[in-house]
């Protein structure tokens, strides 16, 4: 909305300026009317138009606004073309505004803000030397150039012929302007030299264009000072205006370049978060550094990490780094620096870019840290799960041993004692003893079965094949053992395979009413695949405690358990158990 108003105002101002030139009362050579108007309008509208674009694309920079102001100031000079005293006064004062804005534009590009004392001084002098100086100039009663001929104040570029006789005031003003312009050039040159690659990319287009304009003006003014042929001055003045037409484009390019650098931060975050970022690998720190260096256009960037709990920083190789030696931007988390970017001091001219990059890199570092933490925790959880299974197995084995060595042995002894007693007893007592012996035999059988279920001693002694064979033989339904590997896998794998088969067989017999079961254990990849297939009722609950426990046990080794149990079509329990 504002932009549209400004555009309309610029068009109206252009029309008014044209009218002032043509109908203002001064005599303008016919052949100069069109070129003067075309160039002046081109310069003004170029600044206003491109300035509006710049303001929209980079609202954080004042350069766009300054460009718009310059465009209007350029047209405002035409007030002087109206041949009245107030218009003359206003035109002279406004005519100098353009110069002041021009100086400010060039000195503060691309932020549009004065950031150092030198810049403030230069911009201040630019304003002081134009409007107030002109006011003084007017106050002493100068009415230079009024009357017949072209409008005053150099509005129309024309050879002054031999009539121009500069007085002291003129020469002083010109000398001051020349000094100002030279100071601007020096300031620009110093700033460019001090800039790092990223800042230079943004500065160069605008500064080159500005330098050409200033250089041209300088030579033109010097030409007058040095009384060089007036034709040369005219030619230079036209050239300066032509350059002024395209300069806004160069300024915009510079602004967009620093914006492109900022969009590079977006790419940085995407790239660092991407699959190829090498998170968790040894190349991750160098990858991060190179992406940051590319985004900042500073190949010398270093990324250093803070040693937790200290004020010391180390490079990726672990060597201590002195942080104060270069320009430094800290990467913080919860207000505490976790790392730092050491970079070209010139980049401090673009704190936004560096901070954005630092934030992106901080994100990546945090990401990497979280990844590492999760990986660590996962390792811990896996290890502790494996330890739990191991501990449970050890406990089972101990219980089996204790039963065997303790209760079982004692019961055996009692059994033998009963048998001895029977040899020397009466018939009645014998019957009682026989009954006791039978009970004892049954108790022993149950105890033995219990102990075996807790932990099969054959598994440790003989391995998976004999243990599964024994399991198959004792099963209450026909079990066909089709495949068992001859080699012995690690003990934990053996136990897991055994318990999968044991649990599946128990389910098949107890719940599925199966009539036969097929069991196979075959190599699969670097592990084993256990498969137990029955022809029972199906519909087994994979989340039932038995199968759930099995799944946990298999998962503890990094394997997986699958239960397919469609109603009425049997049950297939498949476990993949890695041996690594």
């Amino acid at each position: 909305m504002t932009a549209r108003l400004v555009s309309v105002a610029a068009v109206l101002a252009g029309v008014a300026a044209s009218l002032a030139l043509v109908r203002g009362g001064y005599t303008v050579p016919d052949e100069l009317v069109a070129p003067t108007l075309v160039l002046s309008l081109a310069v003004a509208w170029s600044f206003v138009g491109v300035g509006l674009v710049a303001r929209r694309r980079r609202p954080d920079s004042r350069t766009g606004v300054l460009m718009v102001v310059f465009g209007f100031a350029w047209l405002a000079r035409f007030v002087v073309a109206v041949d009245t005293t107030p218009a003359f006064v206003a035109g002279v004062l406004l005519g100098s505004v353009a110069l002041s804005v021009f100086v400010q534009l060039l000195v503060t590009f691309p932020t549009g803000r004065t950031e150092s004392t030198a810049q403030r001084v230069l911009v201040g002098v630019g304003w002081l030397l134009s409007v107030p100086l002109d006011a003084v100039f007017l106050a002493v009663g100068a009415q230079r150039g009024r009357g017949d001929g072209p409008p005053p104040n150099g509005l129309v570029i024309t050879p002054s012929g031999g009539e121009f006789r500069p007085d002291v005031v003129d020469l002083t003003v010109q000398a001051v302007v020349v000094v100002l312009l030279m100071s601007v050039l020096v300031s620009v040159w110093l700033r460019w030299r001090a800039s790092g690659p990223a800042a230079r990319r943004a500065l160069t287009p605008g500064l080159v264009g500005g330098t050409i304009v200033v250089g041209t003006l300088l030579v033109e003014r010097t030409a007058i000072l040095l009384l060089l042929p007036p034709s040369a001055g005219v030619w230079l003045a036209w050239s300066a205006q032509v350059v002024l037409v395209v300069w806004p484009a160069a300024l915009l390019l510079g602004l967009l370049r620093s914006r492109l650098d900022r969009s590079g931060v977006g790419r940085l975050v995407v790239e660092l978060g991407g699959a190829g970022a090498g998170v968790g690998t040894d190349t991750a720190p160098e990858h991060l550094r190179s992406v940051v260096a590319r985004t900042l256009h500073d190949p010398t960037v270093e990324l250093v990490h803070r040693l937790p709990g200290t004020e010391d920083y180390v490079d990726p190789a672990g060597a201590r780094v002195e942080v104060g030696s270069r320009a430094v931007t800290f990467l913080e988390r919860d207000g505490e620096p976790i790392a730092a970017l050491l970079h070209d001091p010139a980049l401090t001219a673009e704190p936004d870019l560096v901070e954005a990059v630092a934030a992106g890199a901080g994100l990546a570092l945090e990401n990497e840290r979280l990844h590492a933490e999760v990986r660590h925790q996962l390792r811990e959880v896996r290890a502790s799960r494996a330890r739990l299974v191991e501990a449970a197995d050890a406990a089972r084995r101990r219980v089996e041993r204790d039963l065997h060595d303790g209760a079982q042995q004692r019961l055996v002894a009692v059994g033998l004692a009963l048998r001895l007693a029977r040899n020397e007893s009466s018939d009645q007592l014998d019957a009682l003893l026989a009954e006791a012996a039978d009970e004892l035999t049954a108790a022993l059988a149950e105890l033995r079965e219990l102990a075996r279920g807790i932990y099969p001693p054959l598994l440790t002694d003989g391995g998976l094949a004999p243990a599964l064979l024994s399991l198959a033989e004792r099963a209450p339904l026909p079990v066909v053992l089709t495949d068992v590997p001859a080699d012995r896998p690690p003990e934990t794998v053996e136990r897991t395979c055994y318990f999968v088969v044991s649990e599946a067989l128990t389910n098949a017999a107890k719940h599925a009413a199966a009539t036969k079961v097929e069991v196979s254990v075959v190599p699969e990849g670097d592990g084993l695949r256990v498969e137990v297939v029955d022809d029972g009722l199906g519909g087994a609950d994979a989340d039932g405690s038995g199968l759930r426990g099995l799944a946990d046990r298999v998962a503890a080794l990094g394997g997986s358990l699958r239960v397919e149990s469609p109603a009425g079509r049997g049950t297939r329990v498949t476990a993949s158990v890695p041996c690594g």
């Binding site: 065997h404 042995q409 055996v412 054959l458 002694d461 003989g462 033989e473 026909p478 053992l481």
Partner: protein, 131 residues
């Protein structure tokens, strides 16, 4: 015969039971080392050998006795255990022992059956179709 078991109560009861059934028990041993010594010293005809011993297990002891040249005429070894025979899978069959008796089945009659008849060793293992 020689009784080898680390449980003194079992040794004592087994000795009385077997003596009552007409066997001549010449000695007892509590572990494998004592067993070897006793076999050399006493030269028993039969060794009733528990599988679980504190040092070497019964299978190992049977192997050593079968291959021991120092023993004049290796004794017949009968393994005993409070576990069931199939808890040891094929190991009983593949050992040089004459046979296996579950401890709670031990009697003179059971021992005689093992000693007199090698058929006990031929009980076949089945794959599938368990009883």
């Amino acid at each position: 015969m020689l009784i080898v078991d680390d449980h003194a109560s079992f040794r004592s009861l087994a000795r009385r039971l077997l003596v009552a059934d007409g066997f001549d028990v010449v000695g007892e041993a509590g572990d494998a080392a004592d067993a070897f010594e006793a076999v050399r010293a006493l030269a028993p005809d039969v060794v009733l050998l528990d599988i679980r011993l504190p040092d070497l297990d019964g299978f190992g002891v049977a192997e050593v006795l079968a291959g021991d040249d120092a023993v004049d005429g290796a004794p017949v070894v009968v393994l005993v255990s409070s576990r069931a025979r199939h808890d040891y899978g094929p190991r009983v069959d593949s050992s040089p022992a004459r046979g296996f008796i579950a401890k709670d089945d031990l009697s003179g009659e059971a021992l005689r059956r093992v000693l007199g008849d090698g058929a006990d060793r031929s009980s076949t293992r089945q794959v599938g179709g368990a009883p």
